[in-house]
Symmetry: C2
Subunit: 210 residues, 2 copies
């Protein structure tokens, strides 16, 4: 499924970051978080590189020391978001208990990443305008994530902890609810991250539970 071009893209990026020191990594990560916040708050077309740079006390041109292009900046934001999701999924899968328990564990971990200190996570609303290789990569990860979640649901149904339902649809519904969270949740807002975590998992427990 993966084209030669994609692999090339991937390795290019690895090279790009490979030799840089830890200072670099730190700033690069900060860039990604700031950019994600901008994209979520001001929209993709609404945020210029200058906007992002200003928040980092930098010139727009300076960003090109960290990313090759705006497109790549978006891509890396999405990649970061996908990575956080994947990590949460791995933890959920590794958790003990019934299918329901593990599904909820995953959700809780993901919510923690979304609302917690890991900083703002980019909503993936501009996937289509990524260049082919990057788009394929993100879509692939995204697809895998969905499949993993559906698998958890299926296991839950099998072991009787989750009520029988259309796995695909249910997965999509919950994923949608998750993905939409950055739209309405603001750290430091009226609702705390802890509350969201508790209430959201509670919601899913009821939605899924047998």
């Amino acid at each position: 499924m993966t084209h030669r071009a994609d692999l090339q893209d991937m390795s290019e990026i690895k090279q790009w970051h490979a030799d840089k020191g830890p200072q670099y990594r730190l700033k690069h990560d900060r860039l990604l978080r700031v950019a994600a916040a901008c994209f979520n708050q001001k929209g993709y077309s609404g945020t210029s590189l200058k906007d992002v740079a200003r928040q980092l006390d930098l010139t727009d041109a300076a960003l090109y020391y960290y990313v090759r292009s705006k497109e790549e900046l978006v891509y890396q934001c999405y990649r970061r978001a996908a990575d956080l999701g994947t990590r949460a999924m791995a933890r959920g899968q590794a958790a003990g208990g019934s299918g329901l328990d593990r599904a909820l564990s995953y959700l809780d971990h993901h919510l923690e990443a979304l609302c917690g200190e890991e900083g703002p996570v980019a909503i993936m609303s501009e996937i289509p305008s990524l260049k082919p290789g990057h788009k394929a990569d993100i879509l692939e990860r995204s697809r895998q994530h969905s499949l993993d979640f559906e698998a958890l649901i299926a296991e839950g149904i099998a072991d009787g902890s989750i009520a029988p339902c259309d796995v695909r649809m249910t997965g999509n519904a919950i994923m949608g609810a998750i993905n939409w969270i950055p739209k309405w949740f603001r750290p430091g807002g009226p609702v705390s991250a802890t509350q969201v975590r508790a209430q959201f998992t509670e919601f899913c427990r009821r939605a899924l539970g047998a």
Copy 2:
């Protein structure tokens, strides 16, 4: 809450469309649907007016006979989406039965609009880059819609048809799931609109039901 500038914007738009005939209205509506499809599939920044125009067998310049700017095109797409939501909400509120019944009725109507013949509905991911007046208008409608939905949930809790829960959170979760649907649902795809409607409402019934 509404500024003078906003009102001005609104009336300007009314004037713009007021005198035109029914042919015009028809084509204008088609434009909005095609544009919504483009924005959803190719992203906002990924769709040029030329793209939209091509699908209508028109030149990009011709679109300016129907809209004043790209920004306004987006705004009208969002407005159309909001209107469909509002209509569904009105029908749901007017339906009989318990709070749960009415909430589900609203959802069903909204799903029908989203997946049915009314054509593709724009995902509102670029609200921030609307100009102030338009942004305020859309946000206001959106907020109202959420409030209405939360009210339905509250009524359901009051009459015992919906299990006690945090109304705001639950509303946000379900709205998120709804708003995300255009991301994965493709008319003519593997899953029919009817199936989505049935399964999604079923999901919400379980999530909400007492």
